[in-house]
Symmetry: C2
Subunit: 438 residues, 2 copies
């Protein structure tokens, strides 16, 4: 099957572990049988490959997630990069054009679109496969997945099918309802709309050409910033008459808040932490190196990382968004294509960072105008290039980089540096990158 | 008045902010009228000076608290340093000998002994003054303060006076009782024993000479390590017949747990933190730079520092000791005579530290056998001496120190360094200090 995974933006509801750069799908919270942890993205990706080893998986996302995706899935995965965020219709049109023009998928083949972060079992991916096959039959232009509701949720839209068959025509759509309405919809046999659907490439490309003037993927990519924001539901789904829904009754959870996310965790503690006396239903995810002790708490989630520390009643945790928006500070941790960095000290005229480069990777060749930098290597070996001059670096070595100097570091083994930035107005924006002359 | 403040050891009950080096009396948790914060030590010291500006205050403590005391009270305060911890009788004998032999206090003068950390108002110190005057009258060898109980506490010993006068003979002492006994003691007119008493110097020095073979303060100091551990209560108080108790009915709190300590805090938050929706009776003390958000919590204390993060129901917080004893890690923050240091990164073969030296201070001249060090100055100016060679240092400068090199830094202004330690088996014990030849 062809599958487009929509990888969404910043998840403020999972602050402090998700931020503008690291979305919730990248959090490694799910224990594997070997004892290590995987993210929602890794969990979904490996399930798809398990169910259909030939599946062509394309991740539709923005530029700033590419490093994290490559770190977690390797560089082989297809990524349809949105030059900027433009809602789901442009994103799906771009990814569909990518499949056709870059991956040479036939216009008559079907593709299934699904969010990157459902918490599901393998039967879900088998259902996606069936959805894809149904879309290839030409019975309908669009085949939606309808999830059997387990409670009268106010968080989802509802799809009302004309009958109770496995695959039915859609009678109508209902917006997110209040609980009483939700109960009555469910009585009528309505299903949750989980944002999962399949179509033939030619169908969505046709819709795209109706709404946007473009030639092919490359042209669409080039003019992406000029497109209007419009959702796929509004642009396509709600207007389509030839539309079916397939029922899915397996496990399906949307782990969008700490409350729901901790329900899916196998253990109560990830990271350095201890539950003391009289704790019940407490979950701790501690990504800092500071040991944590919880005592006498009930129904509480604690999650801590370099960006923040949340201590919340589980039910209350779904209301964190407005509070998190008030917390303004630089990103203290980020995954990069070459590894990761973590801010370990900030003063008005300095910033100290721990940099970890994976073996075989390198930074961009770049310079800063307003700061000098000092690198002290604390692990591994590699080489540095400063203003064109190459020299080896190993644990214990010091490199000084004046403002204006072009510099990079290339890791032979895993390489860790303490970087001290010195200057006024230190900012991530103060960076120019250059092509490295060989 | 002469007053000896007993400054006790590590307060595990106030983990993570107190540790082996920083005891609870040094935590700056009490807001002053100018908006800044002071510690219990500073609060008590300034109250004594307010009540009796001529008071001679001597702090009896161990060596590792001297830096913190000088940082908080200045270098003028008298400190009777215990070479090692030997319980209260040797400590009080040493401090009393110090008053006589070093401070030339007459043997017929009285001194009052009191713990360094009661949470009290000025009337308490006026009562100490009266206690001291009563001890000079020769009616008794020892005059205790008896605190009017406010509830039948199981935490304190009780003093039973013979009558209900302000100053009475002591009838008997009672060990920490169970609650029913405590209630019956209180009915009999018993008072709490807060460990506060006054005596003439010659009385305790006489007792000391009975139990210990020593000439004077200097001799006692020299043989301190050979002394037996014995409490003042056991060695002196319980055996004394000529003993009185003076009633005190003012405010007196022992802030030994997070529960009682937070009751005395003026604000709910110290440090970077926000109380979100539905929090009641929540206190946060955040000494890290990581912003904190609490949501939907009740009767909870959160305290965080480089050594740990505690999240506890307030009542439950008095039971943390056994859990804290299981958390073994190097001290991540310490006050030193020259300022402070904070560990900001640890790897198996490196440790990165932020060092802040106060203006006009300097470290010991010292060397390490098993590690190289790199200093990157990020603020201020001063000079360094490395193997006898002096050179200026200012923000942006780098100093490398090979294992075996003797080194120090002298701060002209406030000086901040990022220190990267490199080597196997990095340990605080790997340090030799030297006299600096002028």
């Amino acid at each position: 099957m062809n599958i487009i995974l929509l990888s969404g933006g910043s998840g403020k509801r999972l602050w402090p572990l998700s931020n503008d750069i690291r979305s919730k799908q990248f959090l490694k919270l799910f224990k594997k049988s070997d004892g290590s942890y995987e993210s929602m993205l890794q969990r979904v990706y490996s399930a798809i490959k398990r169910v259909d080893s030939d599946a062509i998986v394309t991740i539709a996302t923005s530029k700033n997630q590419v490093s994290a995706i490559n770190n977690q899935l390797g560089s082989e995965v297809n990524i349809s990069i949105e030059p900027c965020r433009k809602d789901t219709f442009p994103a799906i049109a771009l990814a569909t054009a990518y499949l056709h023009d870059v991956k040479n998928v036939d216009l008559n083949e079907a593709v299934v679109v699904c969010p990157v972060d459902p918490y599901v079992d393998d039967d879900y991916f088998e259902a996606l496969n069936k959805l894809c096959k149904q879309a290839e039959k030409d019975d309908a232009n669009l085949v939606l997945m309808g999830i059997e509701p387990t409670y009268p949720s106010e968080k989802y839209g509802y799809i009302v099918p004309v009958d109770k068959k496995d695959t039915s025509e859609v009678s109508m759509f209902k917006e997110k309802p209040k609980i009483e309405k939700a109960m009555s919809y469910i009585k009528q046999g309505a299903l949750w709309n989980g944002g999962v659907f399949a179509y033939k490439l030619k169908y969505v490309l046709g819709k795209a050409h109706e709404l946007i003037d473009f030639k092919d993927y490359y042209d669409l990519f080039a003019k992406y910033e000029t497109l209007n924001k419009i959702s796929f539901d509004y642009a396509v789904v709600e207007k389509e008459q030839k539309i079916q829904v397939m029922r899915f009754s397996g496990k399906w959870k949307d782990l969008g808040t700490w409350n729901t996310l901790t329900e899916a965790m196998e253990e109560h503690i990830i990271g350095k932490a201890m539950l003391g006396s009289n704790c019940s239903n407490v979950h701790i995810i501690n990504e800092t190196n500071i040991p944590m002790l919880a005592m006498g708490l009930e129904n509480v989630v604690i999650s801590a990382g370099p960006d923040g520390i949340l201590i919340s009643d589980k039910g209350e945790s779904s209301f964190i968004k407005p509070y998190v928006e008030r917390i303004i500070q630089p990103t203290m941790f980020a995954e990069k294509s070459w590894g990761s960095y973590k801010v370990i000290d900030i003063t008005p005229e300095s910033m100290t960072i721990k940099i970890t480069l994976n073996a075989g990777t390198s930074m961009n060749y770049h310079s800063h105008q307003k700061r000098n930098e000092v690198w002290v290597a604390i692990l591994g070996k590699g080489k540095t290039i400063v203003d064109g001059m190459e020299q080896p670096i190993k644990a214990g070595d010091i490199i000084t980089i004046e403002a204006g100097c072009r510099h990079t570091v290339i890791a032979e083994t895993e390489l860790q540096l303490i970087e001290v930035q010195l200057g006024k107005d230190i900012s991530a924006d103060d960076k120019q990158t250059f092509r490295l002359e060989k």
